[in-house]
């Protein structure tokens, strides 16, 4: 296999080449590191490149292949981790002055699963501070830049994950999603992003933002890549109280099936009237709904509960839980937080216990309503991921909030309900910036999401488009 083909080949194709020894993991990893060295000074996707560790992992994967040992679909495949996941012996900074020198002694659950699966850690990826407070320039590491246009935002907070996958540094990056932090950068960077069902993937060792809204998942170059990766990191973990003891199916089982017999709800009204919505986003989603119908699905316009209720519920719970996590540092080291992080969390000191309990009661009502009234009737729901294409980084002011539509406006509702959501690239703006579509599934039915996402991906072909980094530089 030639180097240019490496980041364009699917994980299953790379795996076949590795297993037949037409390609070694050392070759694959060396090519990835070379691409990072060449382009990441402009993109800042990485906080730490673990080159020595990567080459050691690659040699170990090759030795295993040579010995006939096969640890699964990610053996020998490079990946990246958002820099909130603990990595034993490798700095885990959360892009915060409060933790810039922190070197964990233990791996996060996701990292343990990837190590056991023989994958190759290429490095730790950029994040907004504590998965919340960016993009800003008063943090230890500058914001990641969108590979489609370096002057634009990547989305966040898994900003480095989106940038790294879009730039072709990696086909697979693991992030966290509390209000859209996987789906927002996936949408803005034109890659696939999965927020699995709450409880599907252990969060042990991922620095928390909000105990009951945090989800761990992945960004990838294709739907099939995400399905393979989920199979490696999914599973019950008794050390994560949110972990669900449910079977882990073959997530690729329905990939390749057509969409006949599926009912898909198009939650158009959910976002079509929101302030700040781009007409390009609405047009793209309308077109995507038609594509899904042309593939055999029955697509119908549906209504969801009041958007503002989801937003308020998510915000109050997130702020209360984040404040509880950071209270001591907010009191003793306020200036060590970046400006945005402090501004977004500190006011929660004034929330009352009743505010939180009421939000949690509302959460139960919204979750039951969505999963019974809507998803009893439909196999999945589609809606936009972001209200606009990626804005320029220059629009973010010194003081929060930035102008324009709220970040996470369309994604946070499904952190409230816990449903699995897949972002797939659905088109481009006139300025050549990606636009994403969310596909929301039934609880623990990621397999169906991959079926729908893969069929759409094949029909629409947006996932195969990549930015030209040389032209962009």
């Amino acid at each position: 296999m030639s180097s240019p083909a490496l980041y364009e080949s699917s994980i299953s194709s790379l795996g076949a080449a590795l297993r037949s020894r037409q390609l070694t993991s050392v070759e694959l990893t060396s090519a990835a590191l070379e691409r990072v060295r060449r382009y990441d000074s402009d993109i800042s996707a990485f906080i730490t490149v673990t080159a020595e560790r990567a080459m050691a992992d690659a040699r170990a994967a090759d030795a295993a292949f040579d010995s006939g040992i096969d640890r699964g679909p990610l053996q020998g495949i490079p990946y990246g981790l958002k820099d909130i996941f603990a990595t034993a012996g490798v700095a885990t900074t959360c892009n915060s002055r409060l933790r810039v020198d922190h070197v964990p002694r233990k791996d996060a659950a996701i990292e343990s699963a990837l190590r056991a699966g023989g994958a190759v850690l290429l490095g730790k990826l950029n994040t907004h501070e504590f998965a919340l407070g960016g993009p800003s320039y008063d943090l230890p590491f500058p914001p990641a830049r969108n590979p489609w246009n370096y002057a634009h935002f990547t989305g966040g907070s898994s900003s480095g994950c989106g940038a790294a996958v879009a730039a072709g540094f990696l086909r697979l990056a693991f992030g966290s999603d509390t209000g859209g932090s996987i789906r927002s950068p996936a949408g803005h960077c034109g890659v696939v992003g999965l927020k699995p069902t709450y409880g599907r993937v252990s969060r042990r060792g991922a620095f928390p933002l909000s105990y009951s809204l945090d989800h761990c998942g992945m960004l990838s170059s294709s739907v099939e890549d995400a399905a393979l990766a989920l199979g490696v990191v999914a599973g019950y973990d008794c050390c994560d109280p949110s972990s669900a003891d449910v079977p882990v199916p073959d997530f690729c089982a329905d990939i390749g099936r057509d969409l006949h017999g599926l009912r898909i709800g198009y939650a158009r009204k959910f976002f079509a009237t929101l302030e700040g919505l781009s007409g390009e986003v609405l047009g793209t989603l309308d077109s995507a709904a038609q594509t899904l119908a042309s593939l055999g699905a029955t697509v119908e316009d549906i209504a969801l509960p009041d958007f503002s209720q989801f937003k308020a519920c998510a915000r109050i719970i997130m702020l209360a839980e984040a404040y509880a996590i950071h209270e001591a540092d907010l009191q003793t080291r306020p200036k060590d937080f970046g400006r945005y992080t402090f501004q977004r969390i500190a006011g929660a000191a004034a929330l009352t216990a009743a505010d939180l309990l009421q939000a949690m009661r509302l959460r139960r009502v919204l979750t039951v309503d969505f999963n019974t009234r809507v998803l009893d009737r439909y196999h999945a729901v589609i809606t936009a991921t972001n209200l606009t294409p990626a804005p320029p980084l220059a629009v973010f002011p010194e003081q929060w909030p930035p102008p324009g539509p709220a970040m996470g406006a369309l994604t946070a509702p499904f952190n409230v309900t816990g449903n699995p959501v897949l972002n797939v690239p659905a088109g481009f703006s006139a300025a050549r910036l990606p636009i994403g579509m969310q596909i929301v599934g039934r609880l623990f039915d990621e397999t169906q999401l991959f079926r729908i996402g893969h069929a759409y991906e094949k029909a629409a072909s947006f996932s195969t488009m990549r930015p030209s980094l040389d032209r962009c530089a």
């Binding site: 937003k311 915000r315 306020p334 500190a346 006011g347 929660a348 009352t352 505010d355 009421q358 939000a359």
Partner: protein, 70 residues
């Protein structure tokens, strides 16, 4: 339903409240912190749902915790 708060705190009152909670807001962070606070107060007032305390258990301490410990 609770009546939404119409007159959130002034900046001075807000900073005093924060101090009660042990937080000194750095001067350069004040305006953004206050605007987020005002938005948060409005949202908190909007998340009230009718409560039927007699029939709604509404406990966040889930019985699955007991099952897990068996």
């Amino acid at each position: 339903m609770t009546t939404p708060i119409q007159n959130p705190l002034s900046e001075r009152e807000f900073l005093a409240l924060m101090q009660l909670r042990g937080i000194r807001v750095p001067a350069s962070y004040e305006s953004g912190t206050l605007s987020v606070f005002h938005e948060m107060v409005a949202m908190a007032a909007s998340v009230r749902v009718p409560l039927d305390a007699e029939i709604e258990p509404a406990s966040q301490f889930d019985a699955s915790i007991m099952l897990r410990g068996r």
